[in-house]
Amino acid sequence: MSTDPKFQAALALHRFGLGPKAGLIDAIASDPRGALLAELEKPGIGLVFDANLMSASKSSMTAFMYRQEQMAMRIAKQNEKNEMANAAAAEAPGNVMAKADAKVAAKPDQKPNDAKPSDPKATDPKEPKMADAKPDALADKQADDKADPKKPKPPNVQQRIFRNEARAHFIAANTAEIGFVERLVWFWSNHFCVSADVVPYMAGGYEREAIRPHVLGRFADMLVAAEGHPAMLIYLDNFRSVGPKSVAGLIGKVGLNENFAREILELHTLGVRTGYTQADIIAFAKVLTGWTILPAATNPDHGSEFVFNPRLHEPGPQTIMGKVYAEVGVNQGRAVFADLARHPATATHVATKLARHFVADDPPPALVKTLEQRFRDSDGDLKEIAKALVAAPETWDTPMTKLKRPNEWLTAMRRAIPDAPGDVVQGLQARARLGEPLWRPPQPEGFSDVQGPWADGLAQRLDIAEIVASRVEATVDPKDLLETTLGPLASADTRRAVARADSRQQAIAIALMAPEFHRR
């Protein structure tokens, strides 16, 4: 790997950041490491301030109230129809069929889906629906025309909640100077993932409340914030887990849910096959009973917020991996989390994932060791671990073999071409099309962090690159673009291919599809 400072600056922006902006490679070339470390020290870094955003619980409640109103309106409409049908039937005596029909129709189909207390899957926000797509920028102006009956419907309350959150997430990425801390936010948000398929109105708030405040704090704090967040308790079904010997369990409510405990051990802390047993999982699941949320319907001010409900909690001490937890109530769970955060297996698990995410699918063992050591020595201080990552020589020596995930590639494109037209809905569509829909991982493991699942989407990236290129060909010079995005990373072959393209549009598409621009 080159030791040329410009090369290292470009490497830093791709490997640790969200991609170069115009002039940024030169701007940090004097001290790429220093620039990364400086971002960690910026006041308020990692946080999002946006007056449009509500807490996850408030968002969920707002969506819930909206659905109740809609449901009431639907029922009222249905009743009106039925009355008319009944009246018609009454006017035609003997027409039994009509009456019967009316009765069938009168059966309300509005049975509330109570599978999830406030964020039912059944009312998915339909965010990426193509029909919601805005027309292109030029047509947009026309869409404002009052005479245009095809004017798209304004987004409803639920859609606005999701889009506002998505917008804030995109803006944070686009405006970050380097984006190292945003990348850490993305990493941890994926590590402790929830899915907007289950908690559509909480997913954005979850990231702001559970991940961002701790992204440079202590792992132990992020762990408790994530596992105790309403979004997680709904996503992994703990909100209705009942201890068999709890008050609720003894009066007949059943259902200890093991899933949450298993995923915490396997995915969030120790890692798979690190020595815990099925008995440990069951004991941990019992510890976690009572970690739930306040029902939306009966708590106008605090619905959907976290609550520890002792009526659901399994009483008595529990033994997990040989240690007896005799604490009472919510403190029992907190004690287990504190131990899990300090467990050596957790350090190994987290260090491996971080090294894999930032440096290589098969990370250098020495780097994993360094991060693991730092994790233990600092008692899981995530800022110290980030610094260790920047300081490690392997971080700078390892060839750029990581394939950027779709979100990273799209964001890098946006940062390099900030004037490209496009709105939040289109941003969401692009992510969905490339297989990484925002806050919608396919399973609790989160999105994959190795090349395999993503390489196949390269052809779809070409489609998007071509569309972007067609939109900006009038204003973007392909050679300038290449200097902005890659600078010293651009190979002679890539430069030649861009220079020889048959149109500006093709040249821009090739620059955006350059192999060096996919790798980091």
Partner: protein
């Protein structure tokens, strides 16, 4: 990000609102003559091989030059005879039909004044109308539009630009109304091949993925589309998608321009003519593209309907290609090429060429077909006779510094 995949089409938006159609104009002079002319400009980006479109079969050096890649009047796929000296690529039966009906003509061995073989600069010169690159603020068609004195009673709203980015030729101070086709211009096989070539050197793993896409396109091209899954079909961007895109663009633009209250001037750019490798003039890649273009020409004719008699469609490219075939069975950037004129308003059925010959000494820098007709002469001729723009405006405002270039006369009937 920056795009819409299945957005409501511009057409839907346009047709939804009558208000938007209050933009027409008519050149006062033409109107006084009882004509209501339409002018459409198609920019073929990438440098079209003019010798592959209209082959000089009467030139004794032609077959020597291109060997078995030379289009002739004999063989398995013979060219379509034009005037005894030239033959048309057999992928273009519609152009041939219009030519026979005196509604199409070909200007051969033509080029803009630009000779340096960079696509971007060449396109700037072609579309800006300036003699040199570096002027990309406005296009000659836009300035021509501005120069026409519109009928004062009708509000003048603009010329039509097709595509998500309006082509430079029609951009500028005069207002432009744009329409974006519902289809996305398909990711060209050409771009894909260039990327595979690039990846093969540096990133074989990614090259394999794109090769897979290319193979898929070939399966579909071979007619085995039923063998593909719906998902595979969806990601195809083969020649069928190109055909469909060209046809939609031409047909919709023509229909808009044919309306009584529609725009009278329009422009569209289509990419993909840069055939460095495996050109395939007959039955190959370029043949397919020419076929798609031929379909677009037919779609213009059909879409214009009754106003076809008042229409001229101009098809131009930034420059031509090398006379010789290169080592990759393709051609490289060159100079002289063809320009096409089609439309009911033309006095067609002719190939206009001051033929330079194909001997090595005849070629420009011993490699390109020499350009003997300044493309601006043809364009000025069209603007003068079709839109009645006078010589002085043409020489100063529309094609600056072109006084020495005399407009070709007699192009229109």
């Amino acid at each position: 990000m920056t795009f819409t995949l299945h957005a409501p089409s511009r057409r839907e938006l346009l047709t939804a609102s009558g208000v938007l159609f209050a933009w027409p104009f008519m050149p006062r002079v033409a109107r006084a003559e009882g004509r209501d002319p339409r002018l459409m400009v198609v920019v073929l980006r990438g440098a079209l091989d003019g010798l592959a479109l209209a082959a000089p079969v009467g030139d004794p050096d032609w077959v020597k030059l291109r060997g078995d890649k030379a289009l002739t009047l004999e063989g398995k796929t013979p060219g379509l005879p034009l005037d005894g000296f030239f033959a048309l690529n057999p992928a273009m039966p519609n152009l041939h039909r219009l030519y026979k009906a005196n509604q199409a003509m070909i200007v051969h061995a033509t080029c803009t004044p630009y000779r340096d073989r960079s696509h971007f600069d060449g396109q700037d010169v072609l579309e800006s109308g300036f003699a040199k690159p570096g002027n990309a603020a406005s296009g000659w068609l836009n300035r021509a539009f501005a120069a026409i004195e519109p009928d004062a009673r009708i509000d003048r709203r603009g010329a039509l630009g097709v595509g998500p980015v309006v082509p430079l030729v029609v951009r500028g101070p005069a207002p432009v109304v744009s329409w974006t086709p519902q289809r996305i211009a398909p990711a060209g096989e050409d771009t894909l091949m260039r990327l595979i070539d690039l990846y093969q050197h540096s990133d074989p793993a990614l090259a394999r993925v794109l090769q897979g896409r290319l193979n898929l396109m070939h399966v579909a091209a071979a007619g085995n589309i039923d063998a593909l899954t719906p998902a595979q079909r969806e990601q195809l961007a083969g020649i069928e998608a190109v055909r469909a895109y060209f046809a939609e663009v031409a047909s919709t633009a023509a229909k808009l321009m044919a309306r009584q209250d529609g725009p009278r001037i329009g422009a569209v750019a289509v990419n993909g003519w840069d055939t460095h490798i495996d050109e395939g003039a007959v039955g190959g890649r370029l043949g397919n593209l020419l076929g798609a273009l031929d379909g677009a020409i037919a779609a213009f004719e059909t879409g214009m309907g009754p106003v076809w008699k008042d229409s001229v469609v101009v098809l131009v490219t930034e420059f031509g290609r090398t006379a010789h075939i290169n080592g990759d069975n393709g051609t490289d950037h060159g100079s002289g090429t063809v320009a096409l004129l089609v439309g009911g308003a033309l006095k067609g059925g002719r190939v206009i060429a001051d033929w330079p010959g194909l001997k090595e000494t005849d070629l420009f820098e011993k490699r390109d077909l020499k350009a003997t007709t300044d493309l601006r002469a043809m364009l000025k001729g069209v603007l003068k006779d079709h839109l009645r723009i006078d010589d002085k405006v043409l020489a100063d405002a529309i094609f600056p510094d072109s006084r020495a270039v005399t407009p070709l006369s007699g192009l229109l009937g």
